[in-house]
């Protein structure tokens, strides 16, 4: 048992470290290091532009999408090299946030299902950040139950005509392309009538409307489709096999082991370490210490869980299912951490933004936190996944499984 790199890993790490030291946008390092959930803007620069410039620089030097094949803009690196890169990239990795969906989900789906000429045309600019992609799955009628989506695709000659609405589309407002899951046959059960496409977000008939979130920010959008044309060669996978295609997309997401999920613990520890209460330093208060210790072991438990997965990668093995706990644990923890930090501020905790302690860091965290427990699979869906895929418990009884989609009830209580 050790934390040492193999000689090859050490050589790769040294090369990555040297390149980052020479090329990273150092002027933003401190600001990025301090940014936390709900607050990832830069004071004097447009973060989208800074992120795109960094991504392009990486791509030109062969450091973008490390695990992708070279032909598609990647480096052909091993999974462990990708992890080492993330460790070395450190706070600059936060600049990748707007590329995560494209690199983690859209790219791998294109690689598995798109025609060769499309892969060669679309993937390199996706890797280099020159083009941003989004994922158009969720709908008002299909969130956790994504297969319940209603956006229609109807064949007309060599094209498909799209009508409907997507929601919760991260980054649609700055995306160039998207992968789109549609219903092509409503007369068969819901999983069997779906088809996947990719499309240009500038296509006529696509309208993006930002959603104002409960936090006041707008990271997500509604996307409306009115008679949008998609040529058949942009179809991904077979007609009506879209559910299986989407599983590839989601599987790729789960295979990517990030540099760690945000728990808010380092921020809380630092805050308590500097905070004076009426009776003395907060960190010397028994009840504060107890709360901190409980958060500390969750944070370290997550850290070493991901170390175990990385070890499996290092040995060329597939990581085990233990990594599936990360989002579930971190999501509710960061919310509790934010509430506790405000509690320690007492009455002044009610203030927000520049009027608040630490410029409102924990207030921003609090207001953004409910989203983390919902996006990318709610806490409840994550528990179902653990129970069914890890522990082998039976699936829920699905009353709509064998019912043609157009006969599934759409209303709850009669109005």
């Amino acid at each position: 048992m050790n934390f040492d790199d193999t000689p090859q890993e050490a050589a790769f790490r040294a090369e990555a470290r040297a390149w980052i030291a020479a090329n990273a946008p150092k002027q933003y390092e401190e600001e990025l290091r301090k940014s936390s959930l709900g607050r990832t803007q830069l004071k004097n620069a447009n973060i989208l532009e800074v992120a795109k410039a960094w991504q392009k620089k990486k791509a030109d030097a062969g450091w973008a999408c490390l695990h992708w094949p070279k032909d598609y803009g990647g480096r052909g690196a091993s999974p462990i090299e990708r992890v080492i890169w993330q460790q070395e990239e450190g706070p600059f990795g936060k600049l990748s946030a707007m590329f995560i969906i494209g690199h983690g989900m859209c790219g791998p789906t294109m690689m598995a299902f798109a025609r060769e000429e499309h892969k060669r045309h679309y993937l390199p600019p996706l890797a280099s950040g020159e083009k941003i992609w989004c994922q158009l799955f969720s709908e008002p009628a299909g969130g956790s139950d994504v297969a319940g989506l209603r956006t229609r695709a109807e064949k007309k000659g060599d094209d498909w005509i799209i009508n409907g609405q997507k929601i919760w589309t991260s980054g649609a407002h700055y995306s160039d392309y998207g992968i789109l899951l549609t219903r092509t046959d409503p007369t068969v059960p819901k999983h069997k009538g779906l088809t996947m496409f990719f499309l240009d977000m500038k296509s006529p008939g696509v309208e993006v409307r930002p959603i104002k979130q409960a936090s006041g920010q707008s990271d997500f959008n509604e996307v409306y489709f009115t008679d949008v044309r998609i040529p058949d060669h942009q179809r991904l996978g077979e007609v009506n096999d879209g559910w299986n295609v989407s599983l590839t997309t989601l599987m790729n997401e789960r295979m990517s082991i990030g540099a760690g999920v945000a728990t808010g613990f380092p921020e809380l520890f630092e805050f308590c370490n500097n905070l004076m209460l009426e009776d003395g330093p907060a960190i010397e208060d028994r009840s504060v210490r107890s709360r901190l210790a409980n958060y500390a072991v969750k944070a370290s438990g997550l850290k070493y869980t991901s170390m175990r997965a990385i070890s499996a990668l290092s040995k060329g093995e597939r990581p085990g299912p233990e990594n599936s706990i990360g989002k579930l644990v971190a999501g509710s923890m960061i919310q509790e951490v934010a509430m506790y930090a405000l509690d320690l501020q007492g009455a002044a905790g009610v203030l927000s933004g520049p009027d608040a302690e630490l410029a409102g860091k924990f207030q921003a965290m609090l207001l953004r936190a409910p989203g983390t427990r919902v996006e990318g699979g709610t806490d409840e869906i994550m528990r179902n996944i653990i129970a069914e895929r890890v522990l082998g418990l039976p699936g829920d009884i699905r009353v709509d499984k064998d019912v043609p989609f157009n006969q599934i009830p759409t209303k709850g209580r009669a109005t």
Partner: protein, 375 residues
């Protein structure tokens, strides 16, 4: 990076699991639970023959000289099987104290006997309520004899010798405390068995009246040694706790698959699934913290005090959480004497206290993190 046990260590884990599933089925645990024996003597002998008692004891002292990573994987299996033997008191406490602070002669006297299953040892630290603290130690040592009472002493009624924490000064500092080795079969030692919430493991009160004792380590260094022993034992016991947590989770999962209610397996209900998913989460967090503790223990890393506290807290929480919810998933049957769920519940709650309770380790963890932060 290889943050995992080696193939040889995993093989040892498989061997230990196989041995314990044959030699320590729930029926054997129940013999002690029902008070028909103080501990499982045949199992104790078998563990010695397998080389498990001396796995971390150097070869020159009769052990296998393997190391603490090997001891960690065995500890996990001991916890999984709820082995009703004085393993933790003898191996994690007494043997570790001897290896840390014993003279060559003391090691030569006791370690080979421990490895051979011929001597049971324990640590006599507590004197009634409260957590480990030098201030709580009143038992006095002078002129090579001890006077005072210790309780609870784990496995005290079956132990052959004890490492005893005693007061040798009155300055109010840690240096007032020294350690002594006492042969519990000698004169001036009175042992009374106490009742525990975990009926598969013994607790005792030991009164020393002019009992002959020899110093273990230098005078005034007792508290430092105890702190180190507790850290080392915390990691090892955490592995037992993780083993127990995993088994409780499996029991709950298996019952949820087999039990039919409302015409379907209860494991198909989300209310039940989510309980089990949360048990998996806490057991996984604990296991990962334990691996870090194992690394720190086996390499004598400077991070050991922090890693040990984190492993201890996380594993205590996980075992308690899994044991109580295993009963919940079982419903009424989980609350019967006949089902094994309560044996895990008892063990989970007893192991949560033995080395100092959660609040003690929470405090210790934050202290240690602060020191690291300041450094």
């Amino acid at each position: 990076m290889n943050f995992d046990f080696s193939d040889e260590q995993k093989q040892m884990r498989d061997e230990a699991r196989k041995f314990l599933s044959e030699q320590c089925p729930p029926k054997a645990v129940r013999t002690v639970l029902d008070g028909k024996a103080a501990y499982d003597k045949a199992l104790w002998k078998g563990l010695a023959e397998m080389g498990f008692l001396g796995v971390a004891i150097p070869e020159q002292f009769g052990g296998a000289g393997a190391g603490h990573l090997e001891l960690c994987v065995i500890a996990e299996e001991m916890g999984r099987a709820l082995a009703p033997v004085p393993f933790s008191s003898t191996v994690y406490l007494a043997a570790e104290a001897l290896m840390l602070a014993g003279s060559d002669a003391q090691k030569q006297t006791w370690l080979p006997k421990i490895a051979a299953g011929e001597a049971i040892g324990t640590l006599a630290l507590f004197e009634g309520k409260g957590n480990p603290s030098p201030k709580a130690i009143k038992l006095a040592a002078s002129g090579g004899t001890l006077n005072g009472t210790k309780k609870p002493v784990p496995d005290g009624a079956i132990a052959d010798f004890a490492v005893v924490a005693a007061r040798t000064g009155s300055t109010g500092r840690d240096a007032d405390i020294s350690l002594f080795l006492v042969d519990l079969k000698g004169g001036g030692v009175e042992v009374k068995e106490l009742t525990s919430i975990d009926l598969t493991r013994g607790q005792a009160e030991i009164t020393f009246t002019n009992a002959k004792a020899e110093p273990l380590g230098a005078t005034g260094e007792g508290w430092g040694i105890i702190t180190q022993v507790l850290d080392r034992a915390a990691v090892l016991l955490a592995f037992e706790q993780v083993g127990g947590a995993d088994r409780a989770l499996e029991m709950g999962r298996d019952y949820a698959l087999d039990r039919i209610a409302f015409g379907r397996p209860i494991g198909s209900f989300q209310a039940v699934k989510h309980i089990l998913a949360d048990m998996y989460v806490s057991a996984t967090l604990a296991r990962s913290n334990c691996y870090y503790g194992a690394w720190a223990l086996s390499t004598n890393a400077a991070e050991l005090p922090e890693a040990a506290a984190a492993a201890r807290i996380s594993a205590t929480q996980a075992f308690q959480h899994c044991a109580k919810n295993n009963i919940q998933v079982h419903g009424g049957m989980g609350f019967t004497w006949e089902f094994d769920c309560h044996m895990y519940y008892r063990r989970a709650n007893a192991t949560a206290l033995g080395l100092g309770s959660l609040s003690y380790w929470e405090d210790a963890l934050i202290d240690r993190m602060r020191k690291k932060n300041a450094a």
